[in-house]
């Protein structure tokens, strides 16, 4: 009887140890998974930021006012390593000393919007080293210096402050 009792208590003790062991392992696994997830998330962010900075880079070239178009014309160049697609999906802000105003995209000349004209190969893509002209048909009077900002669909921003003195 005594041996039987000792055998049962051993089984119970082993079962308890097993439960405790499994619990500890689960807790440890949870902590590890949580940490790995944080590292993975940060790594992913870093990689995407690096890729973004390499993939898309726009540079301001020049800006002027075209009386015949009734528009400010801002020339931008792709100085990145890859083409920029769907430039018309960008966000354009334009204004003066008063502040910036959002302008929607339009495919033709219309007051209160902007359009883009490719100056190289016309393929709806801003290829590396290619330059485009962005026509800004602002509807309100603005005080110089004029301010222009374009943010592509991927989030790359280019901005310029300029005056036109003739």
């Amino acid at each position: 009887m005594g041996d039987l009792g000792r055998g049962v208590s051993n089984v119970v003790a082993e079962a308890l140890l097993l439960v405790v062991g499994v619990s500890l392992a689960a807790a440890l696994l949870s902590a590890v998974v949580s940490r790995v997830s944080i590292v993975q998330s940060r790594f992913s962010n870093v990689v995407s930021e690096l890729a973004q900075s390499v993939v898309e880079r726009l540079a301001y070239v020049y800006a002027t006012y075209s009386p015949s178009e009734g528009a400010f014309v801002v020339y931008l160049k792709n100085v990145g390593s890859y083409p920029i697609y769907q430039l018309n999906a960008s966000t354009v802000l334009f204004g003066g000393a008063e502040g910036l105003q959002y302008l929607p995209y339009c495919s033709s000349q219309r007051v209160g919007c902007w359009r883009v004209v490719e100056l190289g190969v016309v393929n709806n893509t801003l290829d590396p080293a290619e330059t485009v002209a962005v026509y800004v048909y602002n509807s309100t009077s603005v005080t110089p210096p004029y301010r222009f900002k374009l943010v592509t669909a991927r989030g790359t921003a280019v901005e310029a402050t300029f005056t036109v003195y003739w």
Binding site: R35, I38, V46, E49, L50, T131
Partner: protein, 153 residues
Amino acid sequence: MVILLAVLANFVVTYVATAGRLLELSRYYRRPTLLIGGARVVGGGRVVFNVTNQGPESVIVDSSTTLLLDYQAGDGSGRVTELLSYGTSWYVEALVVGGSTYPVAPGAAVEVKPGATARVVATVGGGIAPGSTVILVLVDRWGSRVEYVFAAT
């Protein structure tokens, strides 16, 4: 132990990211610094000017380089902003290094090393009004930009 490794990996990733950004920043500041000088209008429709590389890095002048001219048209039709095409409407005529001048075939790509000067010839579509203001803008492949204003003679 595993948690410690994960934390260490986290530090490594952060360090690499920071180092990468610093490297990118240092590259940005090591870009070529271009300077335009000696610009003049020749024969009404040709502009000749010098581009000197005053930065620590070489710059390649070729079809990926943007040259833009803003000038008063000779026929009185107003100001014209013209984007020129390398090899067609503008080219490097010669490279000047110290006291030596090396001719360059029109339209050929040229490496302008730090301290060297490229003599550029640009031809605009119409004539340039004498006495008017001419603006030159040159942007290289990687975004180094130089602007210069002068009066047409």
